[in-house]
């Protein structure tokens, strides 16, 4: 089966998840585990970098839906960045852009978190 892995790194206060490979029903639990860990560590500001993700299935989309509420309830969010066209089309068709923030570059997404933090202060 197709490979998938997820890598977590920090960019300031924001956590960045790098996704690689194929995200489907079989590999979704791995991403779920990563999100659960973030929530356990009280990290609610998350940028997902889709740069090396080649495919996402409906089960993969479901992972974001399952966790976004918790993030938003804790003044955080899940923001999407660096998405390939094919993957973006799937999100787009489903109407995700109306519900999530998409950015062409990861830095922009990170900045967005910082500026929203500042404006709150």
């Amino acid at each position: 089966m197709a490979e998938f892995n997820v890598n977590v790194r920090e960019s300031g206060k924001v956590k960045v998840l790098d996704l690689h490979g194929y995200l489907d029903a079989h590999t979704a639990p791995e991403l779920e585990a990563a999100f659960t860990k973030l929530i356990d560590n009280n990290s609610y500001q998350v940028v997902v970098n889709f740069n090396s993700l080649n495919y996402i299935s409906s089960a993969g989309l479901g992972v974001f839906m399952a966790y976004v509420e918790t993030m938003r309830d804790n003044k955080g969010d899940i923001k999407f960045a660096n998405m390939k066209e094919g993957v973006y089309n799937i999100f787009d068709l489903l109407g995700f852009p109306a519900l999530y923030d998409f950015y062409p570059e990861e830095e922009e997404a990170v900045k967005k978190f910082d500026s929203s933090d500042n404006s709150e202060k």
């Binding site: 495919y55 089960a59 839906m65 068709l93 109407g95 109306a98 519900l99």
Partner: protein, 687 residues
């Protein structure tokens, strides 16, 4: 004829031979006196030895199938020896010498001595057969050659005795053969390997028996060398006397060996007992493993056998569930007690032990376990492929605490038990899997039943619908509704995820849309309402994409809204529009965003216009390099065939998809619905 019947038939034949020989012997003894002629003497020896030989063979065959416990056979030997001793002493007590008796008493006396001698022959033959059987009992190698050589020498001694009897010369020949025979007898007496396989109790019996046997053989041997009885036998047949002498010597030497060997085996008898107990327990478990697939039953048996293997008073079996040891079975201890001890010994540590542990009396009092009177408790981890998934616990209330030897025994038994438990678990899982597959079949059936059996007929519009379910049940759904006269509704939807849950959700949306299509007209209203209803029942991770539309059958006006579903393909004179009116999937947002983002699309169909709705099972069909079939291939096929019948278009699309993805298993349900507007065609007139 089976083996046993064959054996008894053979034995029957042998008994016939014996009877014939005995009769011949009687006749010969009554009619001829061996002292008269060398010919008589030789014939006499041949008849006597032949009788003896046949009887011995008969007993040997009989014993071959009877020798399960050497003890009973040895006891029989003792009895026969006693018989020999009885007649031997009887003869010794006689007042006159046998030679004189023979001369005086005549035929009647001859008859009596023959009867008594025959009894002795039977007894000696039985004893010899027993010695022969013991000789080869539980031997790995066939050593019968040595035994046969011994028999030849015994016979040589016997005939040289005959010679000596006749000539009173050449006693050195007789003595030479005797010496060699005795040496061979000694060599053959070493074969006492069977003692090793006896239990301690049996060894003790054998030790006592062998002393008795030794004494009685020595007495009988002495009798056979120097007594009236020996003289009597000499007169009957000198060869037979030599045979008896040698066999008595053989018996004496053999049981001497048996005595000493058993004596030396006694100290290790207990260890041997335990090893053989272990071995037989393992064998018990082995046969159990192949027969019992019930986890509980297996666990119970394992605890019972554990007590046997390591001589413990109580034992219980734990499996790790959710990182906690859980009691599965116990032997000779109450569940409460076992749980308390487990908690005291294993519960306090976060990390469960991975090595074998022995708790001595001091350790136990440290853990305050001692009130249940255990002197020693051993805990063996049960691991398969390096992963520990349980523990076998054994406890002793008295005697010594567990030692290295017990550790080895419990560990090796534990390894075995772990494998058998794992097997039982896997078997259960495969049963479970089978059941799941049956349920999937059922779900697939349900899904089929929820879809329209036949595409409905409406005025002015042709409809074709194709559905191919995936191996794992997907959640595709399509349907057509007759809302009013000249108004048709349609839906194509796809539930995220697969399996039974998707099939359930699909059943739900069928209900939702069927009722909503009767209450509301506008696709926008219907989808918004459906979103509201489904939001309350869907879990966070699930969503549904759907396209709902209505067509006015008298005007060709179509109103359609798309909730995250695949685009609607509109083909007008070989030009294809990919229509994606804005809209979020059902269940993705339960608030205002869904309403705000959903847009309706309205347009009029012209004659021969084609509308294609599909599920992502088509565009996401993959080939062996994981490439998607994609939208472009789909539009190409439609464009190339748009002037054809819609059934043809549908077939073309499906064959292209299946050719493209022939090396890759169909992952998702495939749904394809095609409309063609045909205003005022003939079929509409018929309708």
């Amino acid at each position: 004829m089976n083996k046993v019947e064959q054996l008894f038939w053979d034995l029957g034949k042998k008994i016939e031979n014996i009877i014939i020989m005995v009769v011949v012997l009687f006749i010969f003894k009554v009619l001829f006196n061996i002292e008269n002629s060398i010919v008589y003497l030789i014939v006499n020896e041949i008849i006597v030895l032949l009788t003896f030989g046949i009887i011995t063979v008969y007993f040997t065959d009989l014993l071959k199938y009877k020798i399960t416990s050497p003890i009973s056979v040895i006891i029989n030997t003792g009895i026969f020896n006693a018989i020999i001793f009885f007649f031997g002493s009887l003869a010794t007590k006689m007042p006159d010498s046998p030679l004189e008796l023979h001369a005086n008493k005549g035929i009647f006396y001859e008859f009596i001595t023959t009867v008594i001698t025959l009894v002795v022959i039977f007894a000696v033959a039985y004893i010899f057969a027993v010695l022969r059987s013991l000789f080869s009992l539980w031997q790995k190698k066939d050593n019968s050659v040595m035994f046969n050589i011994m028999i030849y020498f015994i016979m040589a001694s016997a005939f040289s005795a005959t010679l000596y009897h006749y000539t009173s010369n050449y006693d050195y020949i007789k003595n030479a053969f005797l010496v060699v025979s005795i040496i061979l007898v000694m060599i053959n007496s070493i074969r006492v390997a069977w003692i090793a396989f006896l239990t301690k109790k049996q060894k003790l019996s054998i030790l006592a028996l062998s002393v008795i046997m030794l004494i009685i053989f020595i007495i009988n041997a002495t009798l056979s060398f120097d007594s009236n009885a020996a003289e009597e036998l000499q007169l009957f047949s000198p060869a037979l006397l030599t045979c008896v002498q040698l066999i008595m010597i053989y018996g004496g030497i053999y049981f001497g060996f048996v005595f000493f060997t058993t004596l030396f085996h006694l100290p290790t008898a207990e260890a041997f007992d335990r090893k053989s107990q272990e071995l037989s327990s393992m064998m018990d478990l082995n046969s159990l493993m192949t027969q019992v697939f019930d986890f509980k039953e297996l666990a119970e048996t394992i605890t019972t056998i554990t007590n046997k293997v390591c001589n413990s008073d109580s034992s219980w079996l734990l499996t790790i569930n959710d990182k906690k040891p859980v009691l599965n079975a116990s032997a000779n201890i109450s569940i409460e007690e076992a749980n308390i001890i487990t908690k005291l010994l294993l519960g306090s540590e976060n990390e469960h032990p991975t090595e074998f542990i022995i708790f001595e009396e001091d350790d136990l009092s440290k853990y305050s376990v001692n009130y249940i009177n255990f002197r020693s408790i051993a805990i063996a981890p049960l691991g398969v492929q390096g992963k520990i998934n349980g523990y076998l616990v054994a406890g002793r209330k008295e005697g010594l605490s567990f030692d290295e030897d017990d550790k080895k025994a419990i560990t090796s038994f534990g390894d075995y038990a772990a494998i058998s438990l794992e097997n039982a678990k896997l078997f259960k899982e495969s049963l479970e899997k089978e059941r799941m597959e049956k349920e999937l079949d059922l779900a697939r059936e349900v899904q089929y039943k929820l879809l329209p059996i036949k595409t409905p007929k409406f005025n002015n519009i042709e409809i074709v619908a194709t559905f191919i379910p995936a191996f794992e049940v997907g959640g595709d759904y399509y349907d057509f509704f007759k809302i009013k006269e000249n108004l048709m509704g349609f839906i194509v939807a796809d539930v995220s995820g697969k399996g039974i849950s998707s099939a359930f959700i699909m059943a739900e949306i069928k209900g939702v849309f069927q009722s909503l299509s009767g209450l509301l007209i506008k696709p926008y209203d219907i989808l918004c309402k459906a979103n509201e209803i489904l939001c309350s029942s869907l879990d966070k991770k699930s969503f549904i994409t759907a396209t709902y539309g209505i067509i006015e059958l008298d005007t060709g006006k179509i109103t359609v809204a798309r909730a995250g579903h695949t685009p609607i393909l509109y083909c007008n004179k070989q030009k294809i529009d990919v229509l994606t009116p804005k809209g979020i999937g059902l269940g993705l947002d339960c608030g205002e965003k869904f309403r705000k983002n959903l847009k309706e699309l309205e347009f009029y169909l012209k004659n021969d216009d084609i509308l294609v709705l599909f599920s992502d099972g088509i565009t996401e069909s993959k080939n062996d390099t994981l490439e998607d079939f994609g939208m472009n291939r789909l539009t190409d096929v439609i464009r190339a065939n748009c002037d054809k019948q819609i059934e043809v278009i549908a077939n073309k699309i499906m064959s292209e998809v299946s050719m493209f993805s022939q090396d890759y298993r169909q992952h998702d349900d495939i749904t394809l619905v095609i409309f063609k507007w045909n205003f005022n065609n003939k079929s509409s007139e018929i309708n």
